[in-house]
Symmetry: C2
Subunit: 268 residues, 2 copies
Amino acid sequence: MKFVDKLLEASSLNDSLLCIGLDPDPTLMPKIGLLEFNKAIVDATADLVCAYKPNLAFYEALGIDGLIVLQMTIEHIPSHIPIIADGKRGDIGNTAKAYAKALFLTFDFDAATVSPYLGFDSVEPFIEYKDKGVFVLCRTSNPGAVDFQNLTNDQGIPLYEMVARKAREWNVSGNIGLVVGATYAEELKTVRQLCPEMPLLIPGIGAQGGDLASTVKYGVDAQGENAIIAVSRQILYASRGKDFAQAARNNALELRDNINNLVSQIVR
Amino acid sequence: MKFVDKLLEASSLNDSLLCIGLDPDPTLMPKIGLLEFNKAIVDATADLVCAYKPNLAFYEALGIDGLIVLQMTIEHIPSHIPIIADGKRGDIGNTAKAYAKALFLTFDFDAATVSPYLGFDSVEPFIEYKDKGVFVLCRTSNPGAVDFQNLTNDQGIPLYEMVARKAREWNVSGNIGLVVGATYAEELKTVRQLCPEMPLLIPGIGAQGGDLASTVKYGVDAQGENAIIAVSRQILYASRGKDFAQAARNNALELRDNINNLVSQIVR
């Protein structure tokens, strides 16, 4: 099954555009094993999300043990929920091939985020997996995003927009999406206009301060779909007590419903 | 000890600007275990290099087992030879912190390559490790490099040059270097002029077709130092027979000496 179909099915089944970022931070977590924590979060929220998105950095920081937990977390997530590897990889063709193999075959993710800095041959080995999703970084959610992504060319077009245009050109297999931060509503609007049908992975709500209403307004496609609103800290660390999973569920439920209300105001 | 001092000491001890990319590819390797292969390559070349550079992709492609081999390879490399983690990581501040921890503390690398696409806060957590080296991707060696890195702003300055300028600005702790491919001699020349004292990590010789003479000419600093010429396939896969380690040594020795001859023609 193609990634986008799997995404839309999960999204429709759970009536959700919410994606939970599984980014375990031992300094913020309740006192509990990492795998136990992830399993509890997944069990408490699997009927509320359209996808899960583990950011690889948090597992790599814990070394081999962390990567074993990552593997076991992937195995624990119900198979109908797509899992996005947030690794932002990007390397020359020969190496990108090894990264794509690592994420899509060895770890069996459904999709991956990739960096565009090295250009087409760094993205191509990922898009060759036609049933997998490839989210190209376009306009990221962090303050430093402006350093390079907003540099404009001699026609006044900023880099992030050039990336969106190229991604559209590269999208011959229909498996490319874009990462656009919720913290920059105008840019999100521009990207959605340029790529009206692409899935957009949108981090930046919650801890990073992005506004939910404009994110939904500008992020969804004409059918009110294909926006993957990724939230991590606000859900994972809703409580440090024994009730952490229930607290995570409460926050996820509230977010999902808020998003759905906002969608219903746009798409009639 | 600061990374650059460790680099210059190893470089001086082994009279070498050669860095071997430890990128094990099971389809090109002799029939031998991965760790055994890496150890044999290191044992055969540790007196000929200024650094080793494992590209993480090739280990991740092999899953947990691959990452255990990576860890054991790091432990096997003599401690006076710097090891550069080629992972091209780049993420928002909070996540970049986890990547820096993974590479500099958990895996104990001496330096890492990072992608500039997300801007300053994606690089900052790496440069905060003042004794570690941080190589920012500037002009990569692959064909797709032109897709974005050569886009020029309204003053005609290409993106890769903007990255070099920013990196210079960020280099308050003196631990930043740049990645510049050997396949683009003119760009290498420009970057060396912009950053006369920075270590440059230069891949692209050998399998990728970069020219050694112009790489040396434009890559080294005024003292004929601070160029790290990274070669992988040409050395690792010099032979698929039982003599692979000796063949790797022969190729490494020849390359090192060719580089030194070229340096001696420039610096007198």
